[in-house]
């Protein structure tokens, strides 16, 4: 019997915007349906995070006020986070969490909220907010969701994908998100994982390999997920059938 996969949900007491619950639920259920045990560790901002003990880390988004507090909390063990990420720790960061992976987030008044500096990435507040449905092309096919961010992010890594429709990192360079080792950062919520099961499974497989849990994830019955994707693309993205083929 394998040990459970340890998924850390960082600071749900601070970062509860944009349905992180949906991402956690998706990871948890997709493992449970395949008979794997999962342990969700809810790390409160008063707890000491232990990056070396997690197999997968989820960092969500919050309002500006909470974001600053999270940045400060995370930076208490920068060295440990860096070591774990270089070692291949899978980390999924969404919205505000994504911005915190970089050097800083610059507020409209010029103040820089320092980030974790795990990535060569910077974000500056811009106007207007970039809001709307989004579709990107990625290594696991089309990723769908919603974006809502004032920040414009630029980095020197590979993006998670290229924008088919929507704004992406900064609304200019056609890139969305970041991929560095097993770190994935993105502005896409909606939430991200339920409607992008291929991405969820990729992240889970990375986590299993990192944890040394043997096995390949078997395919699940994703007809409801596919139906939701199909409906979203037809009704909301107005993507031509040719693009859909190109999964």
């Amino acid at each position: 019997m394998n040990r459970p996969l340890r998924i850390a949900h960082l600071y749900p007491d601070l970062l509860n915007l944009y349905a992180d619950k949906g991402n956690i639920l998706t990871l948890q259920q997709r493992m449970a349906w395949r008979g794997y045990a999962v342990e969700i560790i809810r790390v409160q901002h008063t707890d000491d995070a232990k990056p070396g003990e997690y197999d997968l880390v989820l960092l969500g988004g919050g309002s500006d006020r909470e974001q600053e507090l999270v940045g400060r909390t995370l930076r208490r063990n920068v060295a440990e986070w860096k070591a774990a990420v270089e070692d291949g720790l899978p980390l999924l960061a969404v919205c505000g969490g994504y911005q915190l992976l970089g050097e800083y987030y610059q507020l409209p008044n010029g103040t820089k909220i320092p980030g974790l500096e795990l990535l060569d990435l910077r974000t500056e507040a811009g106007s207007p907010r970039l809001i709307g449905n989004i579709a990107i092309q990625s290594e696991v096919g089309i990723i769908l969701g919603f974006e809502n961010h004032g920040g414009r992010t630029r980095h020197r890594h590979a993006p998670l994908g290229t924008v088919i429709s929507g704004h992406g990192n900064n609304g200019e360079d056609g890139q969305e998100g970041v991929r560095y080792k097993n770190v994935i950062g993105t502005y896409i919520h909606g939430p991200l994982l339920p409607k992008n099961p291929a991405l969820a499974d990729m992240i889970l497989q990375l986590a299993m390999d990192y944890a040394g849990i043997s096995g390949t994830l078997r395919p699940l019955d994703d007809r409801m997920e596919q139906a939701a994707r199909q409906a979203f693309m037809e009704r909301r993205m107005e993507l031509a059938p040719a693009v859909l083929q190109h999964k």
Binding site: D221, F232, R236
Partner: protein, 456 residues
């Protein structure tokens, strides 16, 4: 003047066509005379405003019913709460020569709209029902909503009527600095068992420290204090003791008053308490309030019952906290039921449907008496997916994007599994078409021979 004429024309034409006229006449009139609100607003003696995230329409309607006991008022009762909706309500009460027939207006106003119109109206009282997360794509984030509310309030000299149980409203009270009256529930109603629900504002807005709660009413409403700076829940001027038939209210040392309320749910008791507090601030006596509340008609989709077979109960849902309180009420119904959920993502619904994942649909999927689900609307499939991940067996959910077909299917399924009630939950833009359909189904069933006593 020209703007008023054109607005009245549009109103007249819409009435002749039998269409709902809640926004369009005002929109057209404002296009022609951008200062229409200022002009008509100046003719008012006083304006009472109801704002906040949830419960605006219900609270305003209860208050309107009480105020109407004394005098006719201008009121945007359908809940069209943007500038064009306010203008339309004023146009309805204004003569072709631009004279206003009423001296008092009661407006439900959207949180973001308040700062834009505050200067134009003689606002004397502002009720803030609560501040929950709502439509993030429109306002950015919760902090922005708070700022807009406060900005709007500061442009007035109004008495603020605030929810003592909401730490975010308390922040508004402290930051506002002018006269504030608080309403809140009795502490013996506090829940000490905590579900993993959305709580906005779990942090002290005065100093940033985490708030400590002795218990919750629902959402972030509860008995809170900040251990760092000492911010605390003020003792309410109006204390509510909810019970199944309504609400008993104590106001200072005055004798307790009992208010009968047909609408179910704790959130409706909050709405009644807010309306009562505002009515007292406006100067109404308790007898008018009681008489008014008795005549109150619930707005569309607030636990609204339709006599279909089996009966249907329609509810508006638009954000996690409001949705959770509806889900709790459904769960409290111990009979077998079918649930139909309509999710649209048009501008008025909020284009971002992520909030579905923050709402506690597990309240239903963990309830053995909720036996079948039909999801519908433009995002029917997203809703079905939410239920799947909440643990609902996939064969208990069916997605039918077309609203009418979905309702028919829900009634059919309810018949097949002998459910006592079909609960329909709907976002804003699906609400009117659904109510129409249910109304029609109710009529078509009334004369059904099986239920009709012999009249021939």
């Amino acid at each position: 003047m020209f703007g008023i004429w054109v607005g009245k024309w549009v109103l007249w034409i819409l009435n002749i066509l039998g269409k709902r006229a809640t926004s369009l006449p005002g929109k057209v009139a404002l296009r022609i005379s951008p200062r229409l609100l200022e002009k008509l607003g100046a003719k008012l003696e006083r304006c009472i405003v109801v704002t906040g995230t949830n419960g605006k329409t219900t609270t305003a309607r209860l208050l309107a019913a009480a105020m109407a006991e004394e005098d006719a008022i201008v009121h945007n009762r359908e809940g069209a709460n943007l500038p064009q909706g306010l203008a339309t309500a004023l146009l309805k009460h204004c003569t072709w020569t631009g004279r206003l027939r009423c001296r008092t207006a009661l407006f439900e106003i959207d949180e973001a709209t308040l700062p834009l119109v505050a200067h134009a109206l003689p606002i004397k009282v502002v009720v803030v029902t609560n501040v929950f997360r709502d439509q993030l794509d429109r306002y950015g984030e919760l902090d922005t909503t708070l700022e807009k509310l406060l900005d709007g309030l500061r442009r007035t000299d109004a008495v603020a009527v605030l929810n003592a149980d909401d730490p975010l409203a308390r922040h508004i009270g402290l930051a506002y600095g002018k006269q504030v009256v608080y309403f809140g529930m009795s502490k013996d109603q506090l829940q000490h068992e905590v579900r993993d629900q959305m709580r906005d504002g779990a942090f002290c807005l005065e100093c940033g420290h985490e708030l400590v709660y002795h218990g919750f009413f629902y959402g972030q409403l509860g008995d809170y204090h900040c251990p760092q700076c000492g911010m605390f829940r003020p003792h309410p001027d109006f204390v509510g003791h909810p019970h199944p038939q309504g609400l008993t209210v104590s106001e200072g040392s005055l004798p307790e008053v009992t208010i009968a309320l047909a609408a179910r749910g704790l959130f409706n008791r909050y709405n009644a308490l807010a309306a009562l507090a505002a009515a007292r601030v406006v100067g109404l006596d308790i007898a008018s309030v009681q008489a008014g509340f008795r005549r109150y008609e619930p707005p569309l989709g607030r636990m609204q019952a339709f006599e279909t077979s089996p009966p249907t109960v329609l509810n508006l849902i638009k954000n996690p906290t409001g949705c959770d309180s509806v889900l709790q009420t459904i769960r409290a119904d111990g009979d077998t039921k079918v649930v139909c959920i309509a999710i649209n993502d048009n501008a008025a619904d909020g284009k971002d449907v992520s909030w579905l994942w923050d709402a506690d649909f597990e309240l239903l999927t963990e309830d053995p008496k909720t036996v079948r689900y039909v999801t519908t609307g433009l995002r029917a499939e997203d809703m079905a997916l939410r239920l799947k991940y909440a643990g609902c067996p996939t064969d208990a959910v069916v997605s039918i994007p077309d609203l009418a077909t979905a309702l028919d299917e829900a009634l059919l399924q309810a018949d097949a599994c002998e459910a006592k009630t079909v609960y329909v939950l709907s976002t804003y833009t699906a609400l009117y078409p659904i109510a129409d359909r249910l109304q029609r189904r109710a009529h078509s069933h009334e004369p059904s021979p099986a239920y009709r006593p012999s009249v021939s």
